[in-house]
Amino acid sequence: MLPRLIPRLEKRQTPSKAMIYLSPLLAIFLTLISSVVLFLIMNVSPLEALHAFFIKPISTIYGLTELAVKATPLVLIGVALSLGFRAGVWNIGAEGQLILGGIFGGATALFFYEKTGFYIIPLILIAGVVGGMLWAGIVAFLRTKFNANEILTSLMLSYVASLLLNLLIHGPLKDPDGFNFPESRLFSDSALLPILYDGTRLHIGAIIALLAVGLGWILLSRTLLGYQIKVTGDAPAAGEYAGFSHSKIIWITLLLSGGVAGLAGAIEVSGPIGQLLPTISPGYGFTAIIVAYVGRLHPVGVLFAGLLLALTYLGGETAQISLKLPIAVTGVFQGLLLFFLLASDVLIHYRIQFGKQGAIA
């Protein structure tokens, strides 16, 4: 007889509701444990490091507002990506769509450089949406017309977007008085998002993100479109049977997530950045994928997950300054979190069983 203490995975009769919510917490816990190990290896006091990472950044009002600033694009994109992921449409290229939104929004801001007016900011935001939609539209077209895998096309288009931005700020969008630095002019005041709290960078983008959470929630839980998205993701054949067009869902979810990512890009350039730079996002579009999953593809969950992942950005910066840790620690944190989350998610459908096989349930 084999030893009876070897744990095995046994399929649950029904998916565990509790584990759906416990799994992210378990993943966070495991991430913290492994980061302690990591800090020990790097000869840094784990307590000090964790304090620098998770407490210090948000121990001031300014720190909290910075958290909101970082969380804004993550939550916005996370909500939109959740809709697509629910439908089984794997848009991995939100980063590229964000960059296109930044390019379109930034170009609009520069076009109205000499002008003042209340209409400029809405135009910038709309341009951002259009830019993101355009980029995601290419993916949708390739998917529905040629059945090209959207994971690959959207990801590859992200690199194209990044190079396109570089091309533009080395060329037509370069600051004419900028001593040939690859960056645009600083936007005029009419092209900058209003600040919500003086002395900080907290801008109205945060409110737009909250609005997106609310709208996303209603869309997903109560509307026909949300229902169609869920059915298409769960059982595409059942969707066809009910008369929901699969390609329509692909188009809608890609345009939606692309448009929102583009909006986030426009918000970034006309908010905290205020000009076009070679890099306008520290990987928000990719991190938002983790946000969507940690948030259980639910808009409200995405809000909390967005704040958590925003903290890893802030914490990485603080740890770099106070402990001389490399900024790559942020990426390690985010990667570990997704890794442990996907591992923990196994427990939604399986349970760990010790001992005899097939005990009577």
Partner: protein, 514 residues
């Protein structure tokens, strides 16, 4: 080996549990050499679980197996084969692109050269009336011929016990008869056969004894000769069957569903292309299409309900006299009252991870106006879901459980209930009672007849010939994507329908059936 027992194989107190279900509860089973023993029970009674333990695929939680009087521990199928147990599965494991002999050689425990093997195959096939050319490629063979490969593969091991898991579910009646001749010959030569089925007439025709299982428990072992089909059915289902009330003849209305020269090439190379299909269903009429699974039934249903548009010939499908080839399932449902029930329940007729309430909404939201100001009216949808559950006796803790957690039969009741509750004008329904318990099957058949009596046109696509003979007015069959002529059911016999299922036209006569 010394014969220390009267029985070839003896199972005692076998128990096997899966999470949430006790699949086998204290089962005894004894089979003598040369005996054809039936294992009888409805879907989910625990038949397959039991034989998987005999064949070493599953391990029992409790109980013993004696083979030839010796206590054995059948850990793997290889051990089972060594003992002399062979099994023909319901689903074949054959490579389409290889020849018969190549396929058989792949499954052998001991290798041998192909030429010798081919000779052995030819010899066995002659001896047992299983015509099979060892050098044909599998993709060119019919389902019946493929089954012969599996049987010969088993016979090559010279087994003492042959297990057959529902071997006739994929065969036409004529193929079934040939199979029975072979099985009887094997039994006369001393081989024990464990024959799993829920078809009572087959068991009457073939088996000596029968062990009946119900809900994982053994009901009893009986001598088949002493029992009638009715008494076997009663033991199997635990209740007497109600006779279907045949409604008085309804005056037929206009043609509501018409298919004219419908041809539809298959999407993928292994799919079935529909060829020149013609059929009409009038209001008040139930028309049946018989056929062995995988002959184009699914493709036909998808063309009729609009999942597969027929853009090349938009007028090949007409509802209420109007060409609908361009319309999607939704417009056909809303404008013409067309409802359909696909054969595959999980993932086609219902979405597994969503609740029954959500699944009730799937096809009913427009007809029952379940959208209010653009938002889903969940209160009303829940009422509808609960009405289906009550009316069709769906066994479920509540309406919030995911559809995937229901048993196949219960989910079938829910899906059929959802479509029938919307009072469709035209209904296309595939395998309406597949896997459903006998009582509920009768409810569904009754509901189908009543729907027709109200003037609806009903097309039933089914593998279950008895069911079709019982509820249809006219009957035809589909074979290889071609639909036969339709004949009044009252003038048809099971044999004649069987010929149609094999693709033989009745006008050409019986001589074509080789």
């Amino acid at each position: 080996m010394p014969q220390s027992s009267d029985y070839l194989i003896e199972l005692k107190g076998i128990c096997k549990a899966f999470p949430g279900v006790l699949a086998n509860d204290d089962i005894d089973l004894k089979i003598k050499a040369g005996e054809v023993h039936a294992l009888l029970g409805e879907n989910g009674a625990g038949k397959s679980t039991l034989v998987k333990m005999i064949y070493g695929i599953l391990k029992q939680d409790a109980g013993t197996i004696h083979f030839n009087g010796d206590l054995v521990d059948i850990k793997t199928p290889a051990i089972a084969r060594e003992l002399g147990v062979a099994m023909v599965f319901q689903h074949f494991s054959l490579f389409d692109s290889l020849t018969v002999v190549e396929n058989i050689s792949l499954g052998m425990d001991h290798s041998s050269d192909l030429a010798t093997l081919a000779d052995q195959i030819t010899e066995l096939s002659k001896r047992y009336g299983l015509p099979l050319d060892p050098h044909r490629h599998v993709y060119t063979l019919s389902v019946g011929e493929r089954q012969r490969i599996e049987i010969i593969r088993c016979l090559l091991q010279e087994p003492k016990l042959l297990i057959m898991d529902e071997p006739t579910s994929v065969l036409t009646p004529q193929e079934v008869e040939k199979l029975f001749v072979t099985l009887k010959r094997l039994s006369e030569e001393g081989m024990a056969i464990l024959y799993i089925s829920h078809k009572l007439d087959e068991i009457k025709a073939l088996c000596h004894n029968a062990t009946i299982l119900r809900l994982g428990k053994k009901v009893g072992t009986v001598s088949v000769a002493d029992e009638s089909t009715q008494s076997l059915a009663a033991m199997m289902m635990g209740e007497e069957l109600k006779e279907l009330k045949h409604p008085e003849a309804v005056e037929l209305g206009d043609t509501r569903l018409e298919v004219k020269d419908l041809s539809l090439p298959a999407d993928d190379p292994l799919g079935i292309s529909l060829r020149n299909i013609n059929l009409q269903v009038r209001g008040g009429e139930v028309v049946g299409i018989a056929g062995v699974a995988g002959n184009g039934q699914d493709e036909l249903l998808r063309a009729l309900n609009g999942e597969q548009r027929t853009l090349d010939s938009i007028d090949s499908i007409e509802l209420e006299g109007k060409a609908v080839g361009k319309l999607n399932p939704n417009s056909r449902r809303v404008n013409f009252g067309l409802a359909s029930v696909p054969e595959k329940r999980l993932g086609h007729g219902a979405t597994p991870d969503m609740s029954l309430v959500d699944n009730a909404f799937l096809t009913a939201y427009q007809h029952l106006k379940l959208l209010k100001n653009g938002l889903i009216d969940y209160a009303k949808t829940r009422q509808f879901a609960e009405k289906i559950i009550a009316d069709y006796g769906v066994k479920t803790p509540n309406s919030d459980v995911p559809a995937g957690s229901l048993s196949g039969g219960n989910l079938q009741k829910f899906i059929v209930g959802r479509e029938l509750s919307q009072n469709p004008d035209i209904l296309v329904i595939a395998q309406p009672t597949w896997g459903v318990d006998a009582g509920a099957a009768q409810t569904i058949r009754q509901a189908i007849r009543e729907l027709a009596a109200k003037g609806a046109a009903v097309l039933v696509i089914s593998q279950d010939l008895d069911e079709l003979m019982e509820i249809t007015d006219r009957i035809g069959a589909i074979c290889g994507g071609v639909v036969s002529e339709f004949y009044p059911t009252s003038e048809m016999s099971i044999d004649k329908v069987g010929m149609l299922m094999a693709g033989v036209s009745l006008e050409e006569g019986v001589s074509d059936v080789a």
